[in-house]
């Protein structure tokens, strides 16, 4: 800090939703030419703070100044006009429109009152190049791109608006390691150019690399601001959760007896060029991780087990017996007893407008019904068990599940499947965008389920999780199991090395292109 006046300043900002205090007299100052990290658990008020800055919600009280002048934003468009651009965690891209259409969406170039497509194309290409994503074709439809590419388009779109303050809310959560490196380069260049960047992330290593200044939020207040690097990770986490932070991962038990019949086994699974001759086995009580760069077939493998993919070749065995799983309904049937915790809880895991109770019982309705009629008593008992087991924080069972925080929504998804008492649990990156406290609960739950005899296949984009949670990790590359790491072999170095070492740089960039065309 050189004592320069802040570019943007907010003070005494409060916001309530119903009875819930999201922000309570929060203050924040943002300086030009610096990267300011915001930390805090989910529900600490970070999202609301950003929404206030970006004109999505109006604060109940407090004032904001930009260049020393007081401002209010009636809409996201108004905030954009003032130079504040936010890359939201929930993607703001329009699926049926092309990449170029999306990049210029808020202010398309015009000629004679109509959109100038040539100029639009040029702007889009420049913005993509600036974001380091030239592999994305400007005419491709956004809905045809995988999540990681969409995130890059989102970033390009923000850059095309020439922001003065750029807010990134968990912007790297869906990105591949190679893209994260590119984006970091871009962010550092933007800082040189004098932008103010506000960076929200749950990844401490990212914050350590990028941030100049950090502010920690807890319970809707800013509890501490400090220069980056002046506090240890442990101190920061304590500030965030307000309690002693230790043993985030539960201990791993000593491995069980070899030679037992595996609960889940795959022999030579191949599918559509995306899965290549995958064989694996998971025993009862075992947590097996899936590692590797994003988009190497991990998701497809989980979907293959769960009966979602058609034209799958190879064999799946449950308890040593071959089974054919033709649909998620067949997979969750008692004979197989499988559950998949999906990656995108909003579309594949939950029906957001329906109540917590309804969402919880969906997957288990057949078990709770006698002659087609739901046994309300049994339903209630099971739901109470689950809410207790997972410590789901909800104002009631009859409120829409969409009203819960992200972490609690994810708990509902998990509880929903646990109500069937599955023996095989597939997890697809379940902790994305979830706060540390909830993550820790999920890790412990996972181990508890394994100890109770479940076989768990766990895909995560977070290497720390794989290291902390898994008994074994299979590293996938280009749809094939590249390497198996067991016990102490699971280190960050081994994971990254085996995820990348195939043919060095050229193979990596090729895989990125492949992901873009999929």
């Amino acid at each position: 800090m050189d004592g320069a006046a802040p570019l943007f300043h907010m003070e005494g900002i409060s916001k309530r939703y119903g009875g819930v205090r999201a922000l309570e007299k929060a203050d924040l100052s943002v300086t030009a030419g610096s990267i300011h990290a915001i930390l805090g658990e989910n529900g600490a008020g970070k999202s609301t703070l950003i929404k206030v800055m970006a004109g999505v919600v109006a604060p109940d009280e407090g004032r904001m100044t930009l260049d020393g002048r007081e401002v209010t934003f009636a809409s996201p468009a108004a905030a954009n006009q003032a130079g504040i651009v936010c890359i939201f965690q929930e993607l703001s891209l329009i699926p049926e429109l092309s990449v170029a259409d999306n990049i210029v969406i808020s202010d398309p170039p015009k000629r004679f009152g109509m959109i100038d497509r040539k100029a639009q194309r040029r702007i889009a290409e420049q913005a993509l190049a600036r974001a380091g994503a030239s592999d994305i074709h400007p005419l491709a439809l956004v809905k045809d791109l995988p999540l990681s590419r969409r995130q890059m388009v989102e970033i390009a779109k923000a850059l095309a608006r020439k922001p003065r303050i750029l807010i990134l809310d968990e912007a790297t959560s869906a990105l591949t390691a190679a893209d994260v490196a590119k984006i970091f380069g871009v962010l550092k260049r933007l800082r040189e150019e004098g932008l103010a960047l506000l960076y929200i992330s749950h990844r401490m290593n990212e914050i350590a690399e990028l941030a100049d200044q950090c502010t920690v939020f807890r319970n809707g207040r800013n509890v501490a601001s400090y220069a980056a690097g002046s506090k240890s990770d442990n101190e920061v986490v304590e500030l965030m959760i307000g309690r002693e932070y230790s043993h985030i991962f539960p201990p791993k038990p000593v491995r069980h007896q070899p030679g037992a019949v595996p609960v889940l086994e795959a022999r030579g699974l191949s599918w559509s060029g995306r899965l290549d001759n995958i064989s694996l086995s998971i025993g009862a009580g075992e947590v097996v991780g899936l590692g590797g760069l994003d988009g190497q077939g991990q998701r497809e493998l989980l979907l293959a087990f769960f009966g979602v993919l058609r034209g799958l070749s190879g064999q799946i065995l449950v308890d040593g017996k071959p089974v054919s799983i033709a649909s998620p309904a067949a997979a969750s049937d008692d004979r197989v007893g499988m559950a998949l915790i999906p990656e995108d809880r909003k579309t594949e895991g939950l029906m957001l407008p329906m109540t917590v109770r309804e969402n919880l019982s969906f997957a288990a309705l057949d078990r709770l019904s006698k002659a087609g009629v739901i046994d309300r008593g049994a339903e209630q008992r099971l739901i109470d068990d689950m809410v207790g087991l997972l410590a789901i924080k909800t104002a009631g069972l009859d409120i829409p599940v969409g009203a819960l925080s992200g972490g609690n929504q994810q708990k509902v998804v998990i509880a929903k499947w646990l109500m069937r008492q599955p023996r095989i649990i597939l997890l697809n990156d379940p902790t994305r965008g979830i706060d540390v406290g909830t993550k820790q609960e999920l890790y412990q739950l996972m181990r508890k389920l394994a100890d109770a005899g479940a076989a768990i296949l766990f895909y995560s984009t977070d290497y720390d999780e794989l290291i902390g949670c898994c008994d074994r990790v299979l590293v996938l590359y280009d749809g094939a199991v590249k390497r198996e790491l067991v016990g102490a072999e699971i280190t960050e170095h081994a994971l990254i090395a085996s995820a990348l070492n195939i043919h060095g740089e050229s193979a990596r960039s090729e895989s990125v292109v492949k992901g873009g065309a999929a």
Binding site: L93, I94, I105, K110
Partner: protein
């Protein structure tokens, strides 16, 4: 992928509708006793353009992920109105045309205002306004009657240079001055964006409300052009409930045939026009093959099912079942 492949993917629905129409019309004219003559084309065009205008109107609303069940009634109301007003001297006729088109704009704007600012669901809002518009039509024409400036009517339903059907030229002009500017304007894109993902559009600062309002309003205008042409063909006005409703439903069929997604955000009015023309050709096909006209609704239904299934063929190639629901 090359640029042209992206273009092709984008225009697939429109091209498919075009192909269906060409095939059907080729069969029709090959089997017509008179063959492919200017007269046959003119008759076919005059039958087809009415639905084409209404289908264009429906397209604009469907793009916003809405639906307009009042288009047929706007069409009927403006027909009744034209049978009073589009008559007399050149100046009077011009005033009449302006009044009729203005009425269409107002009807569309009312729909838009109710859906956007009243936050009612389009299906409910337009059933209600459709009933109101039909009520007004009944007040104007309790019994069929009236007349129209026949010089203008004959000019616009005849042929230019002896070969080109004037009604097709009018349709082309409507595409050029309504659809093309709309689809390439910022507000047109806002309509598409709102139809595809309204939250994402809002977050991106897109003028959603103005885009949707424009779509509804222009839909009213296009339905009114249809009503005007109905008057030119029939020389009278009639508050025909069944016909109004049929136009509404057929316009939805034409839109689907034309590759416009009922989920919004995707499709083009040009596809819907070919969808409408193809839908109309079904009746003509039955005629040249000497079928009883009573078969017409059944055949239209079957063709519609086949066409929609063609669009769904891609689902057979889907290897990840989750893509069924996208």
């Amino acid at each position: 992928m090359k640029d042209w492949r992206y273009w092709l993917a984008e225009q697939r629905g429109t091209l498919l509708a075009f192909a269906i129409f060409i095939v059907m019309f080729a069969i029709y004219s090959a089997n017509h006793p008179a063959g492919f003559t200017a007269n046959v084309v003119q008759t076919a065009a005059n039958k087809g353009v009415l639905l084409a205008f209404v289908a264009m109107a429906q397209t604009l609303v469907v793009i916003t992920a809405g639906i307009d069940l009042s288009v047929g009634m706007i069409f009927t109301l403006t027909n009744c109105m034209a049978s009073w007003l589009v008559i007399g001297t050149g100046l009077e006729t011009a005033f009449g045309v302006a009044a009729v088109l203005g009425t269409g704009l107002i009807c569309g704007a009312v729909n838009g205002a109710i859906v956007i600012y009243g936050r009612l669901q389009p299906i409910v809002a337009t059933i209600a306004t459709g009933a109101v518009y039909f009520g007004l039509a009944l007040l104007l024409r309790p019994v069929p009657g009236g007349s129209v400036n026949e010089d203008l009517a004959d000019f616009l339903t005849g042929r230019f240079f002896g070969v080109v059907p004037a009604s097709l030229v009018a349709l082309f002009v409507a595409v050029l001055i309504v659809w093309v500017p709309f689809s390439r304007s910022e507000l047109g894109r806002a309509a598409y964006a709102a139809g595809s993902s309204e939250t994402a559009a809002y977050m991106s600062g897109v003028p959603i409300r103005r885009g949707k309002f424009l779509a509804y309003t222009l839909a009213g205008l296009l339905a009114a052009i249809g009503g005007l042409f109905l008057t030119f063909f029939t020389y009278t006005g009639e508050a025909a409930y069944a016909s109004g409703n049929a136009y509404t439903l057929f316009s939805i069929a034409a839109v689907v045939l034309g590759g416009v997604s009922l989920f919004g955000g995707k499709g083009s009015a040009i596809g819907a026009i070919f969808g409408a023309l193809a839908f109309r050709t079904i009746g003509d096909l039955l005629f040249v093959f000497d079928f009883d006209p009573l078969w017409q609704p059944l055949f239209q239904g079957v063709i519609l099912l086949i066409a929609v299934s063609l669009g769904a063929f891609a689902l057979f190639r889907v290897r990840n079942r989750l893509e069924w629901f996208l």
